[in-house]
Symmetry: D2
Subunit: 226 residues, 4 copies
């Protein structure tokens, strides 16, 4: 008796590359952040590069709009783009200011290799492949941050509230709004992946693993800056 083959989903990808996924989701950077022990210099470096990341993330959603095959995909890409440009970027600028990083500084930051590597990898994945390739390359970011927030929130070492200087970060990604956006993305990915043949899943798994490894490098870049 053979085991039934599970319908492919985003979980297929996280399970196939479980070691990388855990190395990313439970990285020392986020553990220390949740415990409130992360050096401020590490966080500041991360915050700055994350701003540059957001700019290219917005470009990626612009690309998603271009690659849309119907009006639903068009609206989906447009909504994600608006969430970044109209909301997240401003939040990020405000948050940076609280950490002593001015908007003028953000505008002239040199881009770290790790930022270039991840962002350009995503954009190239989207242009080389189709809309699903683009979404899968973005998944470690959107789905990953949601998973990380849930996992951190359940750990004993995590400090919530005013005693943790990174409380605002934790609060943002555990917020119902962010979790709902991630869940919507999971459902879309699952619907897209459900009927895919193994060969196609292999391609997506490769993208997912690469992007996950580039996210690990991004966390490590933060730690190394301290």
């Amino acid at each position: 008796m053979t085991a039934p083959v599970a319908t492919p989903s985003i979980q297929t990808l996280t399970q196939r590359h479980e070691a990388d996924w855990q190395a990313y989701c439970q990285h020392d950077f986020v553990r220390q952040l949740a415990a409130g022990t992360l050096p401020a210099a590490a966080f500041r470096h991360y915050l700055k590069q994350d701003y540059l990341f957001l700019v290219h993330f917005a470009r990626a959603w612009g690309l998603a709009v271009y690659k849309s095959r119907n009006i639903h995909e068009l609206r989906q890409g447009c909504d994600s783009l608006k969430a970044i440009v109209d909301l997240e970027m401003q939040l990020h600028v405000d948050y940076c200011r609280q950490w002593g990083i001015s908007e003028a500084e953000l505008a002239t930051l040199p881009e770290a290799t790790q930022t270039m590597a991840y962002t350009r990898y995503v954009l190239d994945a989207g242009l080389r492949g189709d809309l699903l390739d683009l979404h899968v390359a973005l998944a470690p970011c959107l789905i990953g941050y949601a998973d990380i927030a849930v996992w951190l929130n359940a750990q004993r070492f995590t400090v919530r509230g005013p005693d943790n200087p990174y409380e605002a970060w934790l609060a943002m990604y555990i917020s119902p709004e962010f979790q709902a956006a991630a869940q919507q993305e999971r459902l879309w990915l699952n619907a897209q992946m459900a009927d895919l043949p193994p060969r196609r899943l292999d391609e997506l798994a490769r993208l997912f693993q690469d992007a996950t490894r580039l996210e690990i490098d991004f966390w490590q870049m933060g730690l190394d800056a301290a």
Copy 2:
């Protein structure tokens, strides 16, 4: 004594291809529309294909977001995209309904050759070239509709008000909001073009002429449908 060379601008393009520009801006389709004598079948065919045009126009602004080189261009592309997806598309769907064209019909329309030709030409111009190439290929649409509305509004044959079945169309493109958007685009184009060398202007002029001729085909397609 040689005449001073004018600073290049959008006017450089309309003047260099004045015959095509006039053939487009003063086409029989818009003359009859302004006079209220355009056959309803011609207008309906135009309305339907214009909906498909809008979808690809939105894709073009998504592409503009992807091609942005700084935060200002990113916001510019995002704002234009929002104007189409959140506003114009809904207006268009509502307007189509008034002309007896349901949203269901719009969703399954076959795309006319003329629609394919213009929209794909613009998208390819944007991907083959840079952000300015994309804007110039879009200019006959955005700048052109504004110019057309102003010109029509000043003609003696034009009928404004409830006696013209196409009053809503005329009112939309002569509206201060649409005219302001077109003016903003003109200013951006002029700023981008001011210091360009002749060789680059020749490339842009070629794109502008091609796009203008494809717009003429689009009007003609409407007339031919009646």
Copy 3:
């Protein structure tokens, strides 16, 4: 008892859109060409626009190289590109000269709407989708010309040899080299399509139908020029 579902292949596409496929493959333009009765003006117009088509066709294979996911796809795209740039374009230029069209004339030709429509549609299909989308949008050209040559060669109205002014055209597309290239493309397409889910086949069928209709317009453009 239900009929077994056939493995998807390029035949799935030609059968699903059989009316369009026949209208293209058995178009009056090629019938008259094979009978030797096609007006020379029609053929000359076709030849000129086909040169412009070839330029964008070469761009499409450059795009295929960019979109390659492995070394095999890279070589496939590169070989097709070389066949066009190093071989077909020169043949085309030589052939045009025999019909009184100089290389200088080819270099400054205005591009017909039908040429723009088909070429830019293919390029956009390739950038919006993945490598398979690009190949499917190109299939009516590569596979279609091979099918057309075989079909024409078997018709009683076809005149082969020096009595037909279009003999060189017929000879080229019925040649073992061209037929082998088309067959190789068929096999690659079939291998790519074999395990695709119905939803994906629907997307490809849409592209295939659009491209076929744009090829019909291209033949008709030739006839209309006479």
Copy 4:
């Protein structure tokens, strides 16, 4: 009296970012390579990643073909692509074999972050901008290797001939064929840049600096592997 402004050229870029350019062209990796003292492990790691680099470099020339605006640019891109796919890749595979790296190993190599960063940066630069942006992002590679070979060849520490295990590498890049290809690229870049306004030069200089820094990272990756 003001100094005359020099016509912009590739030298404008290398001079504007002279510190980065020197850090790249005179990096310890190439110094040790020329002296024959580079650890074999460093060279092997570089060789492997350089193979992956070549694959994406070929994709970049495919993209250049797509982005061509005329038949000359089309042939230029096609020739560069052929040089890589038909010649350099095979040379590289042969060379790797001599260093104990099999083609099978090359086919399954994990891609280093530094390789991803540089290659995807180049591809995105080409898609975001125009053909010149793409060439400028590639310049540190093509022009740089030629400059490096000339500089190394003139240094006292450089060991040529059978006593240097890296003689084949030095011989390849100092060869008249490679130098001629680089010179041809320099002339094309200079012709493209000659009439550009300062604003455009700033954009290109930014790309050039980023790409140069990513090349430095690539050398450093080799050293760090030993």
